[in-house]
Symmetry: C2
């Protein structure tokens, strides 16, 4: 049989990729990653390996702190549902893409999708599209939002705050890493239901954003506070009802001293700890006992079945201007490594996204 | 008006008391307490101060770890609903007593009561009997049980385990300080619903008790384990679903490494921490995030309104022999200080009670 590319649709094109060079310990560096170009057939394989697979063209890639864990040889103890990245292979995360070919009944060529099995490359073959969602795109919503407010960070902010935080009107809410992908949403959700909300972030610019753009009641730059306990007492003289935890370590220790009785700590992330060989110790955990605090680690995977419920809530909020979203979009796959690594020094202002392709 | 004691019922008798001599820091010592004898009128005052008051003859006093906090000048940060004991006054705790006189409509002379406002003395005037419960005594139940299985420790074990632990059949349950007033009950409750239960305690005798008397599946002496993490891995090769926490510190740190995903940590006490100037730090808290653990501090005060529901469950269990209870009863108020201090070195085997009077 003649090998006719145009007839069989097996067009082979180049595929730029971001590859993990070596496993990370301590702070990740751009040099832990490198760019390469391989080739890819723009068709799902017809063999058994391609059964239920989807081939996508990546449009936006999401930079998320959890990716740090997968960059080390041994996962952090207890890290669930994941595995370390393979050396020499593209790293994998959340993203937005266009379906180029599909052998999965839920997806067809031309569909826009978002999900978590998207490689850091121009085209990805997704063999197990279990967390891939179709996007009903409308022109008034930026597609990149599906890496943020309309994607995993949005679902996380919503369900972690409402389900674990159990907020009610008048509650005093503290959000750390508050201008990030999740934090900026938590603060706005909390304001919508009448909470008093204070956020912390790592620069003057971010603090201004919290107070002006996101409508936090107050905000502070944690890098300018030598005594976090004293800072929290200034903003929460009567204590904190809900702490939305993105940071861990010293911040959590100071928060424990300032929680109110029956306070809730919604554990979403601990970004200050991911790059440490030994996690910082926490001294004040006995406060959980004395103050009858509930602390819980959030698992986004269990909430994807409520995604449409979440959209029903959040899409009107966006359209009516009740919720805004700030993204930090960098252009081109080449800029990906710096963008991802920059998360851990707080370089990004808002949700960090890498735009891979213009449609 | 003639002062006729017999007519006005103002019989004055001597009242032995255990007095706090000085505030405690670090480990409490017997010398922090002393015995004295004062006088008391066996009648509730007719003035305003006696309105709603109850005068009782104390029968049993309960030795509870939480009393340590009230023995220091400044309460531990966040310690709720309590205050430090007054120097020169009798210490106060839970106990069982007989009403001698009452100006409270709920109590009358002769009633048996248990509650938490009972002084360490022969007779107590209880001016605010808000946590005082009437006992419907039957001869087949020891009265002292109302300091333990039928009192605060029982309510604590039941609701902390069932409400915070959310147990289900087959769950792997670990109980620390497992032969104590609360732990021995938690293990038995867990067995009743088909959990696999392992307990730890601080002597060979207590470990034997756990395995033979209380029906734990297994038990170990934590003092003989140099590596608590390794010990827990031996007893829970597949991890722990529910940790019933009575100890804190190093034990909690080791448990965090061995919790299963969606495990629950029911925080009832942290007895290893109460006598430390600085609490031990916890290193492995990030496991709460990665494993989506729920950890919650228990507040018994919120469950007293469900006391009758608890009795409906536990009284038949006792009568049918499904639940047993081991007490360590010491005789006489004079033995009280040693009994209370002994809690913190684990001297007691089972619930520590002080018998003040034989009726």
């Amino acid at each position: 049989m003649a090998s006719d590319h145009s007839v069989r649709g097996e067009e082979v094109i180049s595929n730029k990729q971001v590859i993990l060079k070596d496993y990370v310990s301590g702070f990740p560096r751009e040099s832990n990653l490198y760019l390469t170009t391989s080739n890819i057939k723009l068709k799902v394989p017809e063999e058994e390996s391609g059964k239920d697979a989807v081939l996508v063209k990546n449009l936006y890639l999401s930079c998320d702190p959890f990716m740090r864990g997968r960059m080390q040889r041994d996962l952090p103890p207890g890290e669930p549902e994941q595995s370390s990245y393979s050396l020499g292979s593209p790293i994998v995360g959340y993203g937005v893409a266009r379906v180029v070919d599909s052998r999965h009944s839920d997806f067809k060529k031309g569909d826009l999708v978002w999900g978590r099995t998207i490689g850091w490359e121009e085209y990805s073959l997704i063999t197990t599209p279990e967390y891939l969602f179709k996007i009903n795109h409308t022109d008034d919503i930026p597609l990149s939002y599906y890496t943020g407010i309309l994607g995993m960070p949005g679902i996380t902010a919503y369900f972690c705050f409402f389900d674990i935080g159990s907020p009610k009107e008048g509650d005093r809410v503290y959000v750390s890493s508050a201008s990030g992908a999740v934090g900026q949403l938590v603060g706005q959700f909390a304001k919508l239901i009448g909470c008093y909300v204070v956020g912390s972030a790592g620069s003057k610019e971010k603090v201004e954003l919290l107070k002006t753009k996101f409508g936090f009641d107050d905000a502070f730059n944690y890098k300018e506070e030598h005594d976090l306990d004293a800072a929290l007492k200034r903003y929460f003289p009567e204590g904190i009802d809900i702490y939305f935890e993105n940071v861990g370590g010293k911040m959590l220790d100071a928060v424990l001293l300032n929680m109110r009785h029956h306070g809730r700590i919604a554990l979403c992330g601990m970004i200050s700890q991911y790059n440490l060989e030994q996690p910082e110790s926490v001294q004040n955990l006995i406060a959980v006992l004395y103050k009858h605090i509930r602390m819980e680690g959030f698992s986004v995977a269990e909430y994807y079945d409520q995604y449409s419920k979440f959209l029903d809530f959040v899409l009107p909020c966006i359209k009516e201007g009740k919720i805004v979203y700030v993204e930090d979009i960098t252009e081109g796959l080449e800029s990906g490594p710096a963008a991802l690594i920059g998360l851990f020094s707080g370089r990004n202002v808002g949700k960090q996204v890498v735009k891979v392709a213009q449609e």
